[in-house]
Symmetry: C2
Subunit: 396 residues, 2 copies
């Protein structure tokens, strides 16, 4: 008997695509056999009776919306600010005409405890792990998710093992180390890293906080529910004003899908009049959603494969569109936009000169949001997923 | 005629110690002639009619409490979380008995836009600069203040010059650069750096966002008013529960004095029943307040001089106690505590293992707060002034 048996399989999860009840954290096996990475999620929460004005923010602000019943694990995540960017030609510095009258906002997730939106997910994921009786959690990560997993595991007193590749930025590796997690650096790329984690989950029964199967269905469904709080906060902060679009840096679309679920819950309860369009922002070198949406029919979209190239937006990069992301784009009438390396690096620089130091992948979203301004009169919100403060220079 | 004449002197500032009306930003000249660095501040704000439950957080949450009337300059600063630390022996990892039943909290200021509490000050200081018509702001800084000055100047479209020494950590220098400020690295130490800034203020009329005179009176009085928001947030979040002590990493005591002023305003308006004791936490190698309070009479305390040694808590270090800090300690019945390098570095490590990556100077405050638990039954709050994410490793 291995320790694997000590962690019970999750229950109440159904494939988003085919409805199959799913055990385990590797997504839907039936859809995977069909070549499609589809996540299995709990039912949407019922927000009837909740009032946005009293929502305190963060995933634990409305614990009844989460599929865990144990004690919250928290480091004060969420409650991040919305910052309106200047869109006048002087701010753009290039003499272009004003983009239009609509507003460009960044929701700055870099203010979370470990510097990224991943904290919202890991707070809930680690609480779910505690609830199952796990003593060890694990994550496959290019950095931010690993740091968040390490922090929340430390907070809860669990052991944490993070599987990375040799290309993990050294600042992120250092952060994971300092936060007390063990790190397994896998030779090769994402497939080898994920295989190592899959083996650990199977052999040791470690609780998986991230995706590790192929084609990836997206992350741990309990963790992902933490992202709904981004939608709740936006709806509260925009207080009845309709948001035209929410632009999300997208890799496996955990955040994109979580925000869309949050808005869907809000709309169902009548707490927002209309959900915003969800927009997947991708670096041109790794843009499966953009490629998928070039196909006319959904069957072809689901089966899209692209080559993924290295990008400065190192936390992004998949070669197939996770189905949960396509579903969010379809449901919200959204789209996907790819941005050239040069364009989002220039955006990253411009944002910094205006006081906002963001990770390159966040600048991908701002670049896309800037384009959306021309199309719609409502405010556009880009999710600034992570701070640019990691990796500033050598440790002292 | 130099450009100096274009920036009007501040008005309505009076020396905290002797009451003299003071022009300029170098503190009280009469007290300086007496060898004492005393800041000149605007009158306390009247909070009558305000309700804590409706306070949205941050310095601009209650703009009427600030001595500036122009548009807010903001990057979403403030509204930082309070995180309760474990104080059981298992969490301490050393088998010591529980410290007692009282609660140990960290208010995590690392979630601010540039990663430190300085954002609260620079938001207000830059707004004050804009109001005077300044086109260039400047700061003398070992890092965090310079980064915050750079960010808020960038946000407001002002030029920013940061005076540093050669010992500025390279990650912080990189952050200041990325945020678009010019950096002047001064050979020598703090005196040479401050002299260079004083000359720039006098010759060019640049607006000074930090202290630059000797003995230091503490920072720009308008900027410092931004720190009152820490007290407002704590009072709101503890919602009527009495806080026993607030422990603040202290160098020139800008933050300590600002928090005390905020609590004094709250108490005057009946919004808190009692203000907490303010505690100055210092690294043993640079502990002027701890040394000062060893003297029995205040006249001797004011004139204390110590040798300041290099410390891992690099953002701390003065050789005389700024009078504003002594005043805050006296008024609140507080004290100052020095912590050995080894103790606060161990605390920093312990905090990280529990999920909180803080700058070393923040760990100084947590070390002191841990000791206070033994003395008082009420909750103790340590201010976690800055994130430990800067300087994690080389940039990619």
């Amino acid at each position: 008997m291995t320790t694997a048996s000590s962690v019970p399989d999750p229950s109440g999860l159904h494939c988003l695509r085919c409805g199959l009840e799913v055990r385990g954290f590797a997504g839907c096996p039936r859809c995977a056999a069909d070549g499609i990475g589809a996540n299995a999620m709990p039912p949407l929460a019922d927000l009837d009776g909740l009032e946005l004005a009293g929502y305190p923010g963060g995933p634990w602000g409305w614990p009844e919306t989460l599929p865990v019943s144990g004690s919250p694990v928290t480091l004060g995540e969420g409650g991040t600010p919305n910052i309106r960017l200047r869109t006048d030609p002087a701010a753009l510095g290039d003499g272009r005409a004003p983009e239009c009258g609509s507003e460009l906002w960044v929701k700055y997730e870099g203010g979370n405890p470990t510097g990224s939106h991943k904290d919202r997910a890991m707070a809930v994921g680690v609480a779910a792990a505690v609830e199952t009786g796990a003593d060890t959690v694990c994550a496959a990560s290019s950095g931010n998710a690993g740091a968040a997993a390490a922090a929340y595991a430390g907070r809860a007193g669990l052991r944490c093992v993070v599987f990375t590749t040799e290309s993990v930025p050294s600042a992120l590796a250092a952060q994971i180390d300092l936060l007390g997690a063990e790190q397994v650096r896998c030779a090769g790329g994402f497939p080898e890293r994920n295989a190592a984690m899959a083996q650990a989950v199977a052999e040791h029964g470690w609780y998986p906080l991230t995706s590790y199967s192929s084609p990836s269905p997206g992350g741990n469904p309990y963790a992902n529910e933490g992202y709904k709080s981004v939608a709740y906060e936006l709806a509260r902060d925009f207080a009845g004003r309709r948001i035209g679009a929410v632009v999300v840096p997208t890799s496996r679309a955990d955040l994109l899908a979580g925000i869309e679920r949050g808005f869907r819950e809000l709309a169902a309860a009548g707490l927002v009049s209309a959900a915003p369009r969800m927009i997947a922002a991708e670096p041109a070198g790794a843009a499966p959603f953009t490629a998928a949406l070039r196909h006319a029919d959904r069957a072809a979209q689901e089966r899209t494969r692209v080559e993924s190239h290295p990008t400065a937006a190192f936390s992004l990069g998949e070669n197939s569109p996770c189905w949960q992301g396509l579903d969010a784009l379809w449901r919200s009438g959204g789209t996907a936009v790819a941005v050239a390396e040069k364009e989002f690096l220039a955006e990253q620089h411009r944002l910094a000169q205006q006081g906002l130091l963001l990770e390159a992948s966040s600048a991908v979203a701002v670049s896309v949001a800037r384009r959306m301004l021309r199309e719609r009169p409502e405010p556009v919100v880009a999710i600034g997923t992570a701070t640019g403060m990691k990796g500033l220079g050598p440790a002292e």
